[in-house]
């Protein structure tokens, strides 16, 4: 009688211990995996979870992009980026639209922000100028601090 419940509990335990769910970012405490800065910006943070459940947190989207471009990087099952227009909300990286504009600085100098959809991004572009990208275009790009715009 008890054994199915026990089995269920065991299975649950196994499931949770191998969870690939993203942990919430502790702003002000967690440190960026790539640049070691404390994560503070609720409008620019990013995070990734590997297939094995390892958590990676970043203070800026450019840090995640640069980190993913490193050699021997683990396979990621979840990639999230902060919604610039709704502080604290994390969006799936593949579905977000990105803007790079010198008028919206980001923590690591990439001037890169993410929005939930194309319409939001177009609106930001109309106000601030800049260039729009989808995830595929962005991830192959080396996002460097922009020294050249002043």
């Amino acid at each position: 009688m008890k054994s199915p419940i026990l089995l269920l509990l065991l299975a649950l335990g196994l499931l949770t211990s191998c969870s690939t769910q993203p942990e919430p970012i502790n702003y002000g405490t967690d440190v960026c995996h790539f640049c070691k800065m404390t994560i503070v910006s609720k409008t620019h943070a990013a995070q990734a979870v590997s297939n094995k459940g390892k958590q990676f947190k970043y203070d800026a989207i450019e840090c995640m992009v640069n980190d993913l471009n490193m050699e021997n990087k683990a396979e990621m099952s979840i990639l999230l980026v902060a919604n610039y227009l709704n502080a604290g909300e994390m969006l799936p990286a593949e579905k977000a639209t990105y803007i790079i504009t010198p008028n919206i600085p980001s923590p690591m100098g990439g001037n890169l922000s993410a929005t939930a959809n194309n319409a939001d991004a177009e609106k930001l572009k109309a106000e601030n100028g800049g260039e729009l990208f989808d995830w595929n275009a962005l991830k192959n790009r080396k996002v460097q601090p922009n020294h050249g715009h002043h």
Binding site: G28, T38, T43, H150
Partner: protein, 413 residues
């Protein structure tokens, strides 16, 4: 002849108009904004004691001097930036600015200076601010004697005390910055000088350099900040005579070095920090005559640190003098004083006759298993450390101070 007359007229007009505009509750001019509308190049706006509820005060291309008498208070009522200014040759002095608005997407400041040059911001008191003094694309400025504070609890909803963005040749002298996110943040800033400031209880860093080259900071005190100073992605930084104290806790450092080249660190004091210096990607940095006292780790060296020189430093009573996360060493330790050195000096030349190995094996064990720190003062660990010193297996074999000093090195403070 006409030209001469023109020049003469120009001088007369410019002198004739250098006037002082008084602003007070009972004056003809009652607000700062009115005063600024009336002011022309060279004028002084004298603001008398009182409380002025004003925000979004814009000053564009007016070389004026704003001077507070008996600390007049400008209350921004939590609505955006209080004073924003763009121009040349201006001064903002003696004001108390309180209650700056907060935002996730806009960097509201007590004083925002953009695309300006030759200015002075002096002896102001900024309280309950989001950003204190924010400089954008400005050069040749002096920021002196200001007191900036807020009640930053978490980093996310707080701004920086003094923030330089794409600014050059700025002098930051004798300011006090407390309870902000970063006390002073220099982002894309070159040729700046930071002296005699006091940054304490800031949530992230006391002083922060990012993508900034050819800067120097001296005689500053950093106390109880998340980290005292962080120098990241920068070159040619000269750091001397600073005090880094009481950065205590997880991810807390006196000084955090991350991707820094060709810099000097002389005559600084690191006292009671979890980690005195945390170096990751530091290359060609010299550390001469610094004191490391009562830290958890005096220095922790991570990957990619090449050609660093540690000379004539005092390592006094740290739980660990040097922590290394690898077996390789490309750095030089020479002529330092180590309080835990137990060698002898038979020829009495002041230099120990047996070399000193600053990396304890136990620091490796603690790195791998943090809980093992409870064994810190145990005899067993002393034995483990001793055997590793005799024949190094896990620690970098060539990491040796060949000339450990027998006495503390004296350098003038």
């Amino acid at each position: 002849m006409k030209l001469h007359l023109g020049i003469i007229l120009f001088f007369i007009s410019s002198f004739a108009h250098a006037k002082t505009i008084e602003v007070c509750i009972t004056c003809e001019v009652k607000t700062l904004k009115e005063g600024i509308n009336l002011a022309e190049d060279g004028d002084t706006i004298l603001i008398k004691k009182g409380i002025y509820k004003e925000h979004d005060v814009h000053i564009i291309n007016k070389a004026i001097h704003i001077k507070g008498e008996d600390n007049p208070v400008i209350d921004g009522e939590n609505k955006g930036t209080v004073i924003s200014i763009r121009g040349e040759n201006f001064t903002i002095e003696g004001l108390t600015i309180i209650n700056v608005g907060r935002s996730y997407t806009k960097d509201f400041a007590a004083i925002l200076v953009s695309e300006s040059s030759n200015f002075t911001i002096k002896n102001n008191i900024l309280e309950n601010v989001f950003f204190g003094i924010l400089l954008e694309k400005s050069t040749d400025g002096l920021i002196e004697g200001n007191k900036i504070s807020s009640q930053a609890v978490s980093e996310a909803n707080s701004g920086n005390g003094i923030h330089l963005w794409y600014s050059k040749k700025i002098t930051i002298h004798n300011n006090k910055v407390r309870q902000m996110r970063d006390g002073i943040y220099i982002e894309f800033g070159d040729n700046c000088i930071v002296t005699n400031n006091r940054a304490h209880e800031n949530v992230r860093y006391g002083l922060h350099f990012m993508f900034s080259n050819y800067n120097e900071y001296h005689y500053n005190v950093f106390e109880e900040n998340g980290a005292g100073v962080a120098v990241m992605f920068s070159k040619f930084i000269n750091m001397s005579n600073n005090t880094f104290r009481k950065s205590w806790g997880d991810a807390s450092y006196g000084l955090l070095l991350k991707e820094i080249n060709d810099s000097e660190l002389n005559n600084n004091t690191f006292d009671q920090n979890t980690i005195g210096i945390n170096a990751d990607g530091a290359t060609r940095v010299t550390y001469i005559q610094n004191d490391f006292t009562n830290n958890g780790y005096a220095i922790k060296v991570h990957g990619a640190c090449y050609n660093n020189t540690f000379k004539e430093n005092n390592f006094l009573h740290n739980a660990f003098d040097v922590g290394y996360s690898g077996r390789m060493n490309y750095n030089v330790f020479d002529n330092n004083y180590w309080s835990s050195y137990s060698g002898y000096d038979l020829d009495k030349d002041g230099i120990g006759d047996v070399p000193y190995r600053p990396v304890r094996l136990f620091s490796h064990i603690v790195n791998k298993t943090p809980e093992s720190i409870v064994l810190l003062r145990s005899l067993f660990i002393d034995m483990v450390d001793f055997s590793e010193r005799v024949s190094p297996i896990f620690t970098p074999a060539e990491l040796i101070d060949e000339n450990p000093r027998m006495r503390r090195i004296l350098w003038s403070k």
